[in-house]
């Protein structure tokens, strides 16, 4: 998931979606003089049980079969719970002992702070195993340790690990001492096996995110954009953690109406929750900022600026120290997308492609610009240059200028993730653009959009009535035709769902360039995009028509159209009607068990109104229909309105795109699979 940047790209799109949060972010819901103040309601107490659906063998007269349960309790300082079992078995504290007969047992944890807050799981008690492993099931924090014992009648035991879904299962020695991996592997469960000559037994270990998932001394590049009290805000930087809850250091470049500055990150703390939702307090030379980070893996996380004076969305990506050099970019093409505000404070977006000829010099560029509705296509004067002397191989930070006839010279700071990905923030006072460079193919043809291949995409921008967000899918035929597709649009709260007609086309325009001109035709509108492919299965998109006056986005080659199932991180970004159209950024962790329901928690920064640990209840997801499109509804109880109606587009088992389809908000987002 090093690339794993759909959410980062979504955050970039939010630049367009979000209108200014001007005089004070805390003045949410004050606009227009209707409501006088915002009220932060108290979230209800929530309880989650780990492991979630364990299976263990029956107890025997000599060998109890036990589960060490853990309960996460939210929104109260009293995190104690009372454990009960229905259907057999017993509890001693949080340790459950299975009955001596097979069957299902319902285990319930009841909050001692609020007896109405409960959670239940079903324990499947099965047949006795040849070797009894204890504990038979439990949850272990990522990077944590657990000692297992085996009742094997004195026989020699060989310990081993299996990650049923693949990935890193952790380590175990031959004394049964287990060390969990830094992040949950696919599926989230590791099987610990104790084998003897006469048979074997297993324990199931659920791996929970922990402070260790933000790996000690690992460089992480981050970027986010949003709004602060001075208006548009774009930030990029690098940060390291100690894997134990402390921030070690780093630096960031901030472009705000309050100034364009480089801040040193001098310390801070963070706390990772079991579902990957993390609060970080980051101390900088300019003050302390708060982040909500939702971990996807040890390499990739979603980031929301979580202060009352600033909000925004972005991502955190592990940097590869071995590739932090200007020369690692040599002889590669890069496609990029940048967006932000122009010199007059109106939205502007750029997308293009160029070639690194060496020494940080980029040539052979081509560029599309949508400057608040003034569109320039195929500007081939584009070039860029890295100031080699400015580059710091210890942090991946450097300076780059991007020059074209259309834009003039723009000055950026970039942070290198690796040779495939740079995060950029402009350090000019005006305009202010931010975005990403991604490695791109050397050349493209019509077959670069292969036959019978679906591409899912999302875009954000503005219509005359206000913010715009859209998501859709189209099917290429490999020869310049689009054979079908659909699109869901939220134009300032007005919702449209439209099918593409087969008169939709794409071409390499101008010829022999790395630019695709894509035309998506609906019954009443024609959408035109400049498209720049990356080598990572994605495409930068910039809207060039007058339907949506200004917009840009990211597309993905679809590799699966199956209805999502599993555990996902979530980022939504855009604007909310409840705060008079101010920016709203949401992170969350949700589970989709496969029975048309959704569960989990959201953390929301609604223009400075902070809401944490909002538990989803009554949320649903419908199966995919065509083109990988489906619908889902998130219901969180808060804020008001508490229902988020969404259309979703599946990219793969790892990524899902969403757009809100009601009049209450204009949000787009992504759901990267956690495990």
């Amino acid at each position: 998931m090093r690339f794993g940047s759909p959410v980062q790209e979504t955050a970039r799109l939010a630049i367009f979606l979000a209108l200014g949060v001007a005089a004070a972010l805390s003045m949410t819901a004050c606009g227009g003089g209707g409501n006088s103040s915002s009220v932060t309601p108290t979230p209800t107490v929530g309880v989650v049980i780990y492991p979630g659906a364990p299976s263990i063998p029956v107890s025997t007269a000599n060998t109890p079969s036990i589960i060490n349960f853990t309960a996460a309790v939210y929104n109260t300082t009293n995190t104690a719970v009372t454990w009960t079992a229905t259907g057999g078995g017993s509890f001693n504290g949080s340790t459950f002992t299975a009955p001596m007969t097979a069957g299902n047992v319902t285990v319930t944890a009841t909050s001692q702070a609020d007896s109405s807050a409960t959670a239940s799981v079903t324990v499947a008690v099965g047949a006795q195993q040849a070797v009894s492993v204890s504990p038979a099931a439990l949850a272990v924090l990522a990077g944590g340790t657990q000692t297992f014992t085996a009742a094997a009648g004195g026989a020699a035991v060989t310990w081993s690990l299996i990650a049923p879904g693949g990935g890193n299962p952790g380590l175990i020695d031959q004394n049964g001492n287990y060390t969990a991996p830094p992040a949950p592997p696919p599926g989230g469960v590791v099987t610990v096996k104790a084998a003897t000559a006469g048979g074997s037994g297993v324990a199931n270990v659920t791996i929970l995110y922990s402070d260790a998932t933000l790996m000690a001394n690992q460089l992480y590049a981050f970027s986010y954009s949003g709004e602060d009290t001075a208006g548009f805000l774009a930030v990029a930087g690098t940060i390291t953690f100690d894997g134990k809850g402390d921030v070690l250091g780093g630096e960031e470049d901030v472009n705000s109406g309050a100034g364009v500055v480089t801040n040193q990150i001098t310390g801070g703390t963070y706390q990772v929750g079991p579902d990957g939702r993390t609060l970080a307090s980051v101390t900088t030379s300019a003050g302390t900022v708060t982040w909500e980070i939702t971990l996807v893996s040890a390499q990739h996380s979603l980031l929301v600026r979580f202060d009352t004076i600033a909000t925004g969305s972005g991502a955190l990506d592990a940097q590869n120290p071995a590739l932090l050099s200007v020369s690692s970019l040599n002889n590669n093409f890069y496609s990029f997308g940048l967006s932000g505000i122009n010199m007059n404070g109106f939205p502007e977006a750029l997308a293009g492609n160029l070639f690194d000829v060496g020494n940080g010099d980029f040539t052979s560029g081509i560029l599309d610009v949508n400057n608040a509705g003034t569109v320039t296509q195929s500007d081939q004067s584009l070039a860029a240059e890295i100031n080699i002397l400015s580059f710091n191989p210890n942090t991946g930070r450097g300076l780059m200028t991007i020059t074209s006839t259309t834009t003039g010279t723009l000055n950026f700071v970039f942070y290198m993730v690796d040779q495939t990905h740079l995060k950029l923030v402009e350090v000019d006072i005006v305009p202010v653009l931010a975005g990403d460079f991604f490695i791109a193919p050397n050349s493209i043809t019509l077959a670069s959009l292969p036959a019978n291949t679906t591409f899912a995409f999302s875009t954000g921008g503005n219509v005359t009535g206000g913010p715009f967000g859209g998501a859709g899918a189209f099917v290429s035929n490999g020869t310049g035709g689009i054979t079908g597709g659909t699109q869901d649009l939220n134009a300032a709260g007005k919702i449209f769902s439209e099918a593409l007609t087969t008169t939709s086309t794409y071409s390499i325009t101008p010829a022999a360039t790395n630019r695709i001109f894509l035309t998506l035709v609906h019954s009443n509108n024609t959408f035109e995009y400049g498209v720049y492919l990356t080598s990572l299965g994605t495409m930068e998109m910039i809207e060039l028509d007058g339907n949506v006056v200004s917009a840009s986005g990211l597309g993905y080659q679809q590799t699966s159209a199956a209805t999502p199932q599993g555990t996902y991180a979530l980022n939504l970004t855009g604007v909310s009607g409840s705060s008079n159209g101010n920016e709203e950024d949401i992170n969350g962790a949700i589970s989709i068990p496969g029975n048309s329901t959704l569960g989990g928690f959201l953390d929301i920064n609604n223009a400075g109104t902070i809401l944490t640990n909002l538990q989803l209840s009554g949320s649903t997801i419908a199966n995919v229909a065509t083109f990988g499109r489906g619908t889902l509804i998130l219901r969180s109880g808060q804020p008001t309105p508490s229902t988020f109606n969404m259309a979703y587009y599946v990219v793969s088992g790892q990524t899902v795109l969403v757009v809100e389809t009601d009049s209450q908000r204009v949000l787009i987002g992504t759901l990267p699979n956690q495990f």
């Binding site: 979000a18 209108l19 200014g20 949060v21 001007a22 003045m27 004050c30 606009g31 227009g32 003089g33 209707g34 208006g231 548009f232 472009n255 705000s256 109406g257 309050a258 100034g259 364009v260 500055v261 801040n263 300019a286 900022v289 505000i341 010199m343 404070g345 109106f346 939205p347 608040a372 509705g373 003034t374 000055n411 000019d428 006072i429 503005n462 219509v463 005359t464 009535g465 206000g466 715009f468 649009l489 134009a491 300032a492 007005k494 019954s523 009443n524 509108n525 007058g546 339907n547 949506v548 200004s550 604007v575 009607g577 008079n580 159209g581 223009a607 009049s663 209450q664 908000r665 204009v666």
Partner: protein, 163 residues
């Protein structure tokens, strides 16, 4: 960005946009209303040649939170011809506090009439209050999204703020 200008700057902006002085002084009839082109139109297409200028007193400032009205700040302006629902934009930059507007205040608005869900609304591009001129949309109708003016000086000269 909302340009927060004194009246001395009005002439400059009028020249820059080439239209204020030539705009009609009062609300026009429905003949100048831009209507949705078709069921799939994403919103009114802003046509600067159809701009009008109205002048009157603010009756009410409202925040539309969704539903049939355009999301964001609306002001009801009493003109000699009637009350005009005027959409200023969304976000805090279009809030009454940011613009310093209040009921009873005399204002002048240049924009384009549009029909949204059957209701006429003036999409405000330029709002003139007794003390300020605010550019709320550009010539394509795109709402502004940054409040504080940023100077054109070199970034090297900027050393304050940034958190």
């Amino acid at each position: 960005m909302i340009r927060n200008l004194g009246l001395k700057s009005l002439l400059t902006f009028a020249l820059a946009f080439g239209s204020l002085a030539a705009l009609p002084a009062k609300a026009q009839t429905a003949a100048s209303t831009a209507t949705v082109a078709g069921p799939a139109a994403l919103g009114p297409v802003y046509d600067i040649t159809k701009e009008i200028t109205i002048q009157g007193n603010i009756l009410k400032v409202e925040a539309a939170t969704g539903g049939s009205a355009l999301l964001g700040t609306h002001v009801q302006i009493q003109t000699p011809e009637g009350v005009v629902d005027t959409h200023l934009g969304s976000g805090a930059l279009a809030a009454s506090q940011a613009l310093g507007i209040y009921p009873g205040q005399s204002v002048k608005v240049t924009g384009m009439m549009a029909t949204v869900d059957g209701n006429s609304v003036l999409l405000a591009r330029v709002l003139t209050t007794p003390n300020h001129v605010f550019i709320l949309r550009n010539e394509y109708g795109i709402p502004a999204r940054s409040l504080l003016p940023r100077s054109n000086s070199s970034s090297a000269n900027a050393t304050k703020g940034g958190l």
